[in-house]
């Protein structure tokens, strides 16, 4: 579009002037010129007053004292103040009661009963193949010796997901029916999702104490936003024709909502449920840091004795739960609106009745033959072999591999050739120039609004007094994202060309997307030593699957006619890729970049556990030492970094309405 405008011959005057004017017509160049002008005026003043590389101390606000007071007030009043006795206390009681109820129900069903319920629900919602997957997955949880832990996590998940859905639907209804609420809610939802969970574990634990209530509420904060967003999206997207018809039939407001809007939004609602479940599961391990129990607790405890095998044994059930729940809700979403198939006896209420009878029979038989808890004899210990395999791997590729060098050498080179220069570069840049660069990047691909948001986000980091660690973190994120994109695009091009390769890749991507990151912390340290390199490795492992998936889909989705046309013109496959596929898949590639950034940023805290330092370390330090201010300020800085990176990687145009 930019080139098309520059080519319009509407400019008159002498040649030199014409060229300048033509240049000015290019929107991005014009924006840069304006920015340069502002800089030329403002920089000398700013430099004279607050020179130097780091953010000036005079422009910071120290939140330690006020947040410390909040902390002390909570500790002093927690056992006596009405706010705690009559509000938080009841919330906490309700959570404990409901988790306990679900847990006892699961235990009462016994392992046979629970497996049967899972299989039958999966069969009714998604067909026989998923029923088999569900049954096998639950049996594997038992075989790994994690039955009780799986039930604890499941009980926690059921309550957290129900609460998230309830909250999400309420917020979504409000946002779907009122434009003003919608606008007001968006930044709140953004913050809920981007603020690292570690940063609000401390305030939650401070109010509710450690244990299940705090864990469930922290999970709800994290998992409710997708439900709210998708509910609002579904309601706002209701077919105007249908709505018109319903209104003309004289339906009241509530009738319209219940009989038309909500049923029309069923697909979005189910997708919201699916997303909420996945997010809740990813919190299962993180919440164990404040004593949630269950599988997460086992992963976390295995870490302290550096036992990868044991951590994996507890991590696999999390992956299996995630896969089963994801596939089942996804398939249920796809089936909405299609005609029921199969024999008449299995349809509708009769089918569910039959299913219930089947479950009851299996549960009773299971109780009489095998008991409630998984039999101890039927446990397969995988920890030993896994640890042996890890040792072998580390022994053979850590160092001294001919030609390519070992992992330790790569880590050292990555640190000294990429991470160190990036860090010293970013920290050495004068603070105002960082703001200018951010403004330039955000403005050239977006509007002045996006640029302003990005600059304000960066400035907020300075004001919070964490400029230096933030620049350190920024450098690490940029490096990790770059590697993720190079690897991701490379693999995705391969996957887009070969169906077989993609099929082979799929389970691997599933595992890496859902495996709790805590599980691979020890292997990355064993391979890359401590420091920023292993943290980057962990981030890459976590972000790569999403980048590969989005890119593959984008490349596959390129109009076949365009490809055919290029082929008939005799383009080589390399030319096809460079000149047709990649340019046409541009939106997907940009989304992949954006997701890469978001996901890498999500691992910043986890990276701190293997020595990445900077902001992540401050958040972990805040939680471990009970310093509310340290943790929250660093968490807020991560949110600001995320906001800024989102704005400079996500093109927005003035005309396109946001998110609708």
């Amino acid at each position: 579009m930019a080139t098309a405008q520059a080519a319009t011959p509407a400019v008159s005057g002498p040649p030199g002037r014409r060229q300048v004017l033509a240049l000015l017509r290019r929107p991005s160049l014009a924006k840069l010129l304006v920015l340069a002008l502002i800089a030329a005026v403002a920089v000398p003043v700013v430099q004279a007053r607050w020179g130097g590389a780091a953010w000036p101390g005079a422009l910071t606000v120290d939140l330690t004292a006020p947040l410390g007071e909040v902390n002390d007030w909570i500790v002093a009043n927690r056992d006596s103040h009405p706010l705690f006795l009559y509000f938080f206390g009841h919330v906490s009681d309700a959570v404990v009661l409901s988790v306990r109820g679900v847990y006892l129900l699961l235990l009462a069903l016994g392992w046979a009963g629970v497996t049967a319920v899972a299989a039958v629900v999966a069969w009714r919602a998604a067909g026989p193949r998923l029923a088999l997957t569900a049954a096998v997955s639950f049996l594997v949880c038992g075989l790994l010796g994690m039955w009780v832990q799986t039930m604890q996590t499941l009980a926690l998940m059921v309550v957290a997901v129900l609460a998230s859905v309830a909250l999400g639907v309420l917020l979504g209804l409000a946002a779907g029916l009122s434009d003003r609420t919608y606008r007001a809610l968006r930044p709140v939802l953004d913050t809920m999702q981007v603020l690292p969970a570690f940063a609000y574990l401390l305030p939650v634990a401070l109010v509710f104490g450690i244990g299940v209530p705090g864990a469930v509420l922290a999970t709800v904060v994290y998992a409710a936003p997708p439900m709210a967003r998708l509910t609002a999206l579904g309601l706002r997207g209701a077919d105007p024709g249908v709505m018109e018809a319903v209104t003309s039939l004289g339906a009241t407001g509530r009738q319209r909502l219940l009989t038309a809007r909500l049923p029309l939004a069923r697909k979005e609602l189910l997708l919201g449920l699916n997303q909420t479940i996945m997010m809740a599961l990813s919190m299962a391990v993180i919440a164990s840091v404040i004593g949630a129990g269950g599988l997460g607790d086992r992963v976390y405890q295995a870490l302290s004795s550096v036992d990868v095998g044991a951590a994996l044994a507890a991590g696999i059930p999390i992956v299996l739960l995630a896969v089963v729940l994801d596939r089942t809700t996804e398939a249920a979403g796809r089936r909405i609106g299609t005609e029921p198939t199969g024999p008449a006896a299995l349809r509708g209420a009769r089918g569910w009745g039959l299913a219930a009878v089947l479950v009851a029979v299996v549960a009773v038989v299971g109780r009489f033959t095998g008991g409630r808890i998984w039999p101890e004899g039927a446990i397969v210990a995988i920890a030993g072999p896994v640890n042996t395999a890890k040792e072998w791997m580390v022994d053979h590729i850590y160092t001294g591999v001919p030609v390519v060098g070992g992992t330790a050498d790569w880590a050292a080179h990555f640190t000294s050739w990429i991470l160190n220069p990036l860090r010293s570069g970013l920290q050495g840049l004068p603070w105002w120039s960082v703001l200018l660069i951010v403004a330039a990047l955000a403005w050239t691909i977006g509007t002045w609004r996006t640029a302003l948001t990005a600059v304000l986000a960066m400035a907020a980091i300075g004001v919070l007094g964490v400029w230096e660690p933030s620049m350190d973190t920024l450098g690490q994120v940029v490096a990790a994202v770059a590697v993720t994109l190079v690897l991701g695009f490379g693999i995705a091009i391969g996957a887009a060309r070969s169906e077989r390769f993609e099929r082979l890749l799929r389970p691997l991507l599933d595992v890496f997307q859902t495996l709790p990151q805590f599980v691979y912390l020890i292997p990355v340290v064993a391979l890359f030593g401590i420091g920023r390199a292993p943290a980057a490795a962990a981030a890459i492992v976590y972000a790569l699957p999403a980048v590969i998936r989005i890119t593959t889909q984008g490349l596959r989705g390129v109009d076949p006619a365009a490809m055919e046309c290029a082929r008939s013109l005799g383009a080589t496959s390399g030319q096809q890729l460079r000149q047709v596929q990649l340019p046409l898949a541009r939106p997907a590639l940009l989304l992949a970049v954006n997701q890469g950034v978001v996901l890498v940023l999500a691992v910043v805290i986890i990276g701190a556990l293997v020595g990445s330092g900077a902001l992540g370390y401050l958040v972990v330090l805040g939680l471990a030492q009970g310093q509310l201010a340290t943790g929250l300020v660093a968490g807020a800085a991560i949110v600001c970094l995320g906001l800024m990176l989102d704005r400079v990687t996500q093109p927005t145009t003035r005309t396109a309405p946001k998110e609708s």
Partner: protein, 327 residues
Amino acid sequence: MARTPIRTRTRVLAAASSAAALLAVTGCGAADMTKQTSPFAAPAGIRTVTLSVQSWVGAQANVAVAQKLLEDELGYRVDLVQTDEVPAWDALSQGRVDAILEDWGHPDQEKLYVEDKKTIVRGGDLGVTGHIGWYVPKYWADEHPDVTDWKNLDTYADELRTPESGGKGQLMDGSPSYVTNDTALVKNLDLDYKVVFAGSEAAQITQIQQFAKEKKPFLSYWYQPQWLFNEVPMVEVKLPEYTEACAAKDPADIDCAYPTTPLQKYLNADFSQRGGEAADFLKKFNWTEDAQNEVSRMIASEKLTPQEAAERWIGKNPGVWKKWLRK
């Protein structure tokens, strides 16, 4: 226009119904969060004790042995809660946890909860003495005996350089939850070193094991008692002597070694009074460093579960634990 009534109505309806549901579930009146048990605790009628476990293996060993004895000999059910140290104190004061079995000294928390609020009481010595210090591997110290004095450390800074430590030597620190003055020490003793935080004990141990496998030199913050000494023998580096006066300084000015701490047990005040046999048992629980290390090593090196390790130790040492059960 037509939207407004719906919105208000749904909102009021939602608020009212959720409030009603909340009250129906919990009953009216005050809800005391300090009287809540874990939802995974056993049904009523069974006596339950909740113990806090910290992330290091020594703490796991204490808890595993206590758990096994409470369950097998006294008929309790034991719940474990894993948290960092400072949040654990918080949980102890609220009654979410009944006891901490190994505390390395938290003067702020002691003052707040033991002296001012009186929600936590002292439970006596664990019998194990803890000591924090700087350590180098024995294979390296054997070659260069003078490395074990801080005054000579600068000579070896070059050998300890890593990409993370820049041009200086690397002093490796562990988890952010541990007590450390290392950044201040390096500055105040004017050493050519940089403190690199491994971020977690697991990462630190993995790195030490890796260095040991290659017989590479390293300098690390570490503590005794710790099972890793059995696998990677280490020698302590002498720091300027610990004095009360030095310890009383501002944390940024500290320039002496770490103290030697007899590790302490702490009990929730209420539990201490009404905890019956379990409270008496936990107060009497007292064993040696060797005993703790034996259990720790089984957990960490032989990869037994803490329960299995505790069972083995209990089977071999009835003379030790029978004393803890006596009235």
